[in-house]
């Protein structure tokens, strides 16, 4: 074999010597040595290709909707005092009452000799937020609290279910025609006995007005309570505009009107109590922290923030994703929920709702954030013309992918849908979601796929 190799080497050396190789070089310059084309992408040949990857939208994964009522929602320190009651077509009779402490005036202006008692009033400013019908007259009662506001837990919080004992008789009542959309106030005449008593204590420099603590023992606070026949729940500012005013007349050559203003003293302790009578509604049979399937509430689910009513969404068949034969990349998952037509005209749904992780005990675990750490929110989209496309759209891609990251999908891991945690206890906002099977408004779970063969 060696002669063979030797021959080859000799031959190659010989070849390199020959000048005719220059012919080749010439040829090289003559040819363009490669592929030159001015062809654009054109559809010619489209019947020839067999695609190895294709896009598809799959919306056949089922969505189970249910309603869960949390056992309590924190309602203290929201800055709004809700009071009133109204009957919601969907969720029954809702009542709100508000509790707060009143502090001493910053400076007391009382002359023991010549000041004469005039009146004691409570002034409250509308927030323009209300639920129900404001056309008819409303009746509110003002009670003096019979016990101190002591938070229920270490979070210094009060809840929609918190309640405090009140003195038996109201210290004031008012029947009025509400004007919540004006920047207006209502003024409620309070008990003269109470007013005279307070003035007397100032004149006598009584021990009970010497410090805030002593005053709180004397005057525990105020409860705003609605009459049962009211038709609206009104929101008032629970801030420095919420005042109890002691009106006196300073007698002299010309009488002078004097006001001593008591303001809300500890804003973070102010809270609202919300109650609901849900008899004859879809949620009649709901228990606290229990899933009530939409099928038991007229194929609807609910959100009612201040009462801790949340919609729970479960994806029972999501595990199927892992069993698919076809290779895929999940590009996006959208959850689209439609408010039930006819339910959002009177009470506008919240402009934004968010998602919470929840577990099989129906507890709020945490707010869901996207991969950038911001809260995953869906904006309210109103189709005011056709009422066909009023909806919330959630991009739950990251949630689904995270759930799958450990290789399986825990179907106990559902999602709560409601307002953000900070807003949850501050309103009675409500949404009614449709879960009518076969209707255009049934919830949609849209999975955007790339399927491929490797």
């Amino acid at each position: 074999m060696f002669w063979h190799l030797n021959l080859m080497v000799k031959m190659i050396i010989f070849m390199l010597r020959i000048k005719t190789i220059l012919y080749g070089v010439l040829i090289t310059f003559f040819s363009s040595c490669g592929f030159e084309t001015d062809i654009e992408n054109i559809p010619m040949g489209k019947d020839f290709v067999s695609s190895q990857a294709w896009l598809s939208l799959v919306d056949s994964f089922s969505v189970n909707m249910s309603t869960v009522v949390l056992d309590s929602v924190r309602t203290s320190g929201t800055g709004i005092a809700w009071v009133g009651s109204y009957t919601d077509d969907e969720l029954g009779n809702i009542s709100a009452s508000s509790y707060f402490e009143i502090g001493l005036p910053l400076s007391v202006n009382v002359d023991e000799e010549i000041d004469r008692y005039d009146s004691l009033t409570l002034v409250m400013q509308y927030t323009s937020n209300y639920y129900g019908d404001t056309l008819s007259d409303q009746l509110l009662h003002i009670y003096q609290l019979a016990e101190e506001l002591v938070p229920e837990d270490e979070n210094d919080s009060f809840y929609n279910t918190s309640s405090l004992r009140m003195k038996n008789t109201p210290i004031g009542s008012i029947t009025f025609s509400p004007r919540p959309n004006r920047k207006d106030s209502i003024q409620i005449r309070l008990s003269d006995n109470l007013g005279r008593d307070i003035l007397g204590k100032f004149k006598n420099k009584d021990d009970s007005i010497s410090t805030e603590e002593r005053f709180k023992e004397y005057f525990r606070g105020i409860a705003l309570v609605s009459d049962v026949n009211n038709t609206t729940v009104l929101g008032f500012h629970a801030d420095s505009t919420l005042r109890m005013i002691l009106h006196t007349t300073r007698q002299g050559l010309e009488n002078e009107d004097i006001e001593n203003v008591f303001r809300i003293s500890n804003g973070s302790y102010q809270f609202n109590r919300f109650t609901a009578d849900r008899s004859h509604t879809g949620l009649e049979s709901v228990g606290y922290s229990e899933k009530l399937p939409s099928s038991k509430s007229g194929d609807k689910t609910y959100i009612q923030s201040g009462l801790g009513v949340l919609t729970r969404v479960d994806f029972p068949s999501m595990q199927r994703l892992l069993e698919m034969d076809q290779l895929y990349d999940l590009f996006k998952v959208e959850l689209i929920l439609f408010p039930e037509p006819g339910t959002y005209n009177e009470i506008a749904p919240p402009s934004q709702i968010v998602l919470y992780h929840t577990d099989k005990f129906n507890r709020i675990v945490s707010e869901i954030v996207d991969n950038y750490g911001s809260v995953l929110a869906a904006e309210y989209h109103l189709d005011s013309v056709y009422h066909e496309d009023t909806r919330y759209v959630f991009d739950i891609t990251d949630f689904i992918k995270t759930e799958f990251s450990n290789g399986y999908f825990d179907s106990e891991h559902g999602l709560f849908i409601g307002e953000t945690y900070t807003k949850l206890g501050s309103s009675l906002n409500r949404v009614v979601f449709s879960d009518q099977k076969g209707s255009a408004f049934k919830p949609q779970l849209k999975l955007y796929f790339l399927f491929y063969n490797s």
Partner: protein, 416 residues
Amino acid sequence: MKRFKNITWLFLFFYMCGVIDAPAQNTMSPYSIFGPGEILSKGFGRNIGMGRAGLAVMSDNRLNNLNPASYSGIEKQHFIFEIGVDGKYSDFKSFGDDMNGFNGNLSYLAMGFRYTPWLAASIGLSPYSSVGYNISTQSNMEGTLLDYTSDFEGSGGITLAYWAHSLKLLDNLSLGLNTSYLFGPLTQQENISQSDYGMYYSVIQNDYMSSFYFDYGLQYAFIIKKLDFSIGLTYAHEQNLLSKHSFILTDGNLNTIAADEDKTSHITIPETAGLGISVQNRGKYLMALDYRIEQWKGLKYPTMSGDFQNAHSFSAGIEFRPWRESVTNIFYKNWSYRVGGNYNSSYLKLKNKVIKGYALNAGIGIPLKDRESTMNVAIEAGVNGTTSNGLIEERFLLLHLNFSINELWFIQKKFY
């Protein structure tokens, strides 16, 4: 010093053409999406002028790579070097579409020589197949009313490096064995986009071929009535070319979603047989007629739908010298003139239509200064495919330039 200069030229030469690193892209045909791509005909300058016929033709001062048995015709002490370049203009027509383009490339490099009176060899490099296409499609995104776009880009091709041996068994009987190494990538990139949803993906599938391939030949010569007759046979059994298949799926941000690197795969090259006959009246004419069959039927290719069918091809050509060769002749009187044609029914049957092609060829052989080397120029004009049933017709004009360089081996030039 001169040697180094030549080496430099040689490296520059290979580098520029990228023959070693990446095979030249020799096609832009949408049909090249199928199988191993567009399979490029063998044959050097002389064959191309003769309609690509020549299974029965012996190598002489010009190599004939159509049949490995032919190399035993290389004359004593001759060293033959072949180089060819192609320039091809193509016009593609389909229903409502028209495109055209030009590409030029180095076509082959080869050399042939004789070890002993009974053993000759040739080594060379030539393209075996080529892939080049750009196809854009629109598809409905299932579950929506929207379409998405898929752009398919094919590239690459298989290069063939061969080392053929021809054994002269008898004075008129030669056997040939051709050992080839086939290598090169077949690549398809599919770009998917749906702008409304912002979905962008790219799938790159690459098959890098590297495999040996063998084919065989026989030539038998006889004389009838002072005419030199020759019969040529070629055969190659069905062979699998191994490939490393790689698959990469990336998203719109070029993040790799899935990748599969080292999957061994293969494509199958069918059983092939050829029969040729030639008649020669030395110094006057040479006629050659070839028939070839490729058993594609039943072969399966990945990423391909539809069946193949057996391919047949016929080629015929004639080379003649109208004037007796003489040093005193005016230049064109010493030229060889060639005409021919070929017809093929390819392995593709699409939409119930067999993809067929035919071409007419013409060429000249111009002797160079030393009388043994020639410059061969050939043109081929042809049609492939059809526009009926929504298919594509290619009309092409190919210009081929080839040098057959003869050097005398182990003889000092000063004696010559």
